[in-house]
């Protein structure tokens, strides 16, 4: 039997195709959605696994809390999860699966700038919001900025500015030696720190790049540092790599002979390096002990997290938790999950959850919020669970340390 094409069917089909082509797919069809899917793309193996797992805990906590109170605009939040192994290729494959198979309307995660930049490009193509969580390299919101990507975490520029301002009077004119992870984030940190301290008189002795990820033996680089006898040793390594590197630095006596800077730290790195982290200076966007004492939102989060998991959250977990709430706020304010409308809210709204009042800059989507400079304390003083790892030396206001707009090479798409 020959199939005839009725006029009505033809019109409906054409309208549907047009809607799908020009209207951004699923958002046009106004059928009531009961569920909304968020993609959680974090490293559960590889050198940043500790950070990824803690982010996942925070995502689960936020989503449970939100679902218990009626979801996002009445929609129940579901998740699609994947282990990105700290590898950009795997992270992108995960995100693609979350979007295409599971219909994720927002992707969040990433404990590395390498994975964040890769996923950011994909989300831009797919017209899906990407709330980049733990990524510290400038690229995420500078060279590789995208309309659909928002990063709340401090970037390397902010950390470098904060570190330099706190330390420059004491160490500014000394000899600085750098050991740097050889990928986007490491380069970004190195460029930023030297740009701040060199004009003040700091002398860069050498910058040794280390293979990333998973270098096991840092002794050749540390021996060079030992021979150079620097005043300041900057170890730009993160996660398990930083733990290995700093512990080996201690074996070479460097923790005693040299002031050590680690541009970014979290609770797990401090735990892994034990007393070797004593006196090491670093930065963190959030420190549960400091913020819980100061902000009710932070206290609520830290208490709920500690109650659920038995220990306080790391700073990566905090940004993961806040990202879910920020997305919820934006969707509800926009009255829609349409990315264009959500982006508009995120670009123009100030909000407060776990820190002071903060916002995203419209020009690059970098979050503007404070940066803490912290100094490690001995293991014996870190409390029962070892999570009280530092004293806060100084808090730098986000606006005072964020990269000036004129310095950016971000070219944002119009949509």
């Amino acid at each position: 039997m020959k199939q005839t094409l009725s006029r009505g069917r033809f019109v409906a089909g054409t309208a549907g195709t047009v809607a799908l082509t020009f209207g951004g797919g699923r958002y046009v069809i106004a059928a009531p959605t009961k569920d909304i899917t968020i993609g959680l793309d974090v490293p559960l193996s590889g050198p940043y696994a500790d950070q990824g797992q803690d982010q996942l805990r925070a995502y689960h906590l936020a989503i449970e809390e939100i679902n218990a109170k009626g979801g996002i605009m009445g929609m129940n939040v579901k998740t699609s999860e994947g282990d990105d192994q700290t590898k950009p290729g795997v992270a992108t494959e995960n995100a693609q699966r979350m979007i295409e198979r599971d219909g994720a309307v927002m992707i969040t995660g990433g404990s590395s700038t390498g994975t964040a930049v890769a996923v950011s490009g994909l989300c831009q193509q797919k017209n899906v919001i990407f709330m980049a969580a733990l990524t510290h390299g400038d690229e995420t919101t500078n060279q590789n900025c995208h309309k659909h990507t928002f990063r709340r975490y401090n970037d390397a520029y902010m950390s470098a500015q904060s570190l330099a301002r706190t330390l420059v009077s004491k160490y500014g004119t000394g000899k600085w030696f750098y050991i740097t992870a050889d990928y986007a984030w490491g380069h970004s940190v190195y460029d930023n720190i030297t740009a701040v301290v060199e004009p003040k008189g700091a002398k860069t002795v050498k910058n040794v790049l280390t293979p990333f990820p998973g270098t096991k033996d840092f002794s050749p680089m540390l021996q060079q540092a030992q021979a150079a006898k620097p005043d300041v040793l900057v170890l730009t390594e993160f996660g398990a790599d930083m733990v290995t590197c700093l512990n080996q630095a201690a074996q070479f006596g460097l923790t005693k002979s040299t002031k050590i800077l680690v541009p970014l730290v979290d609770e797990y790195m401090a735990k892994g390096t034990k007393d070797n982290f004593d006196n090491v200076v670093s930065t963190a966007p959030f420190y549960w002990k400091y913020h819980a004492a100061k902000y009710p939102g932070a206290k609520k989060f830290v208490d709920a997290f500690t109650k659920k998991y038995g220990f306080p959250p790391s700073n990566g977990a905090e940004t993961a938790y806040a990202d879910i709430y920020i997305y919820k706020m934006a969707v509800e304010k926009a009255g829609s999950i349409d990315p264009a409308k959500v982006i508009n809210v995120l670009e123009t709204t100030k909000f407060q959850f776990t820190k002071e009042q903060e916002w995203y800059r419209k020009e690059d989507h970098q979050g503007v919020n404070s940066c803490l400079v912290v100094e490690g304390i001995p293991e014996a003083q870190r409390g029962a669970n070892g999570f009280e790892y530092a004293r806060v030396l100084e808090v730098h206001d986000g606006e005072s340390v964020v990269a000036p707009l004129s310095s950016l090479s971000c070219k944002m798409e119009s949509a």
Binding site: D50, S219, A227, T244, Q251, G253
Partner: protein, 289 residues
């Protein structure tokens, strides 16, 4: 100059770790014709057993318990799983040992988490020793000395015992050994257990230096394979020469241009495979089989 000397010392220590793992790999391959991808798992199990014992009983006992635990694991693995794969084609062996490596890695992750852990080295070895113009961590020197002693013992085992005779003969001609009545089966279990015990001990002893996470075993396994290939499959001295070469090459490259240090060892392997496919000290017989 001082920097070069330092780098060479570092290369020696690194090379000795590779040798210690590669020797186990190479004698297992020589005797059993088994390419054992689970060898990194032996290192990791040794390190974690060492970690638990060091934290609860004491560091010295960690060095005793780790090789014993890995020996037990290796014998069970040999008897229960690998036995039926010895006569299979290399692809099956590769798949099953690789599978075991993954299962062990994920099991360790379930038990101990992904965090890098480390136990504190003995107080007496925490400082540094002065060698000529440079200061070097004392524990690393102790470790290097320990590996050398262990290598001598393994060499004596291979050269001076009847099992060693079967091992050496097996490298040359496995079938002839069996025809002559050599019990290659029992010898194979002993060799497999010995290779495992060495890797386990090295895992426990190297953890105060490098720390341990579930992926560490595999991270050391890959360069150790390169060492075996460069030195010559099945050759004890090949593993020693290959290990020293790769360790030094990696360490000196680190000094010159660190990001290339992981690549340079594979370049070296490619070069050896092109110019001398059987490896520097390998016997061409092994390749033909």
């Amino acid at each position: 100059m001082e920097a070069v000397f330092q780098a060479m010392l570092g290369g020696l220590v690194l090379g000795l770790i590779y040798i210690a793992i590669a020797v186990g790999l190479t004698i297992i391959f020589g005797t059993l014709r088994l390419v054992n991808f689970a060898h990194g798992a032996f290192y990791a199990i040794g390190a974690y057993v060492g970690l638990v014992i060091a934290q609860h009983i004491g560091l010295v006992w960690a060095f005793v318990a780790a090789p014993i635990a890995v020996t037990v694991f290796a014998v069970l693995l040999d008897r229960l799983v690998l036995r039926s794969f010895y006569d299979k084609e290399p692809t099956s062996q590769l798949l099953v040992t690789f599978g075991i490596a993954l299962v062990v890695e994920e099991t360790l992750r379930l038990i101990f988490g992904s965090t890098t852990q480390q136990y504190v080295m003995p107080l007496a070895l925490q400082g540094s020793a002065t060698i000529g113009p440079i200061e070097y961590p004392a524990y690393r020197l102790f470790f290097a000395g320990g590996v050398i002693v262990m290598l001598v013992l393994v060499w004596l085992f291979i050269e001076r015992t009847n099992y060693g005779l079967i091992v050496r003969a097996g490298v040359r001609d496995r079938i002839m050994v069996q025809l002559l009545g050599g019990n290659i089966r029992r010898a194979s279990t002993v060799v497999f257990a010995l290779g495992g015990a060495i890797a386990g001990l090295v895992g426990a002893a190297a953890t105060p230096i490098y720390g341990i996470d579930p992926g560490t075993g595999f991270a050391f396994l890959v360069p150790s394979f390169v060492v075996v290939v460069v030195g010559g499959l099945g050759s004890f001295w090949g593993a020693v020469l290959g290990g020293l070469l790769i360790g030094e090459l990696q360490s000196l490259t680190n000094l010159a241009y660190a990001p290339a240090s992981n690549v340079v060892i594979y370049l070296c392997m490619a070069l050896v495979l092109l110019l001398r496919p059987q490896g520097l000290l390998g016997e061409s017989e092994v390749i033909k089989q």
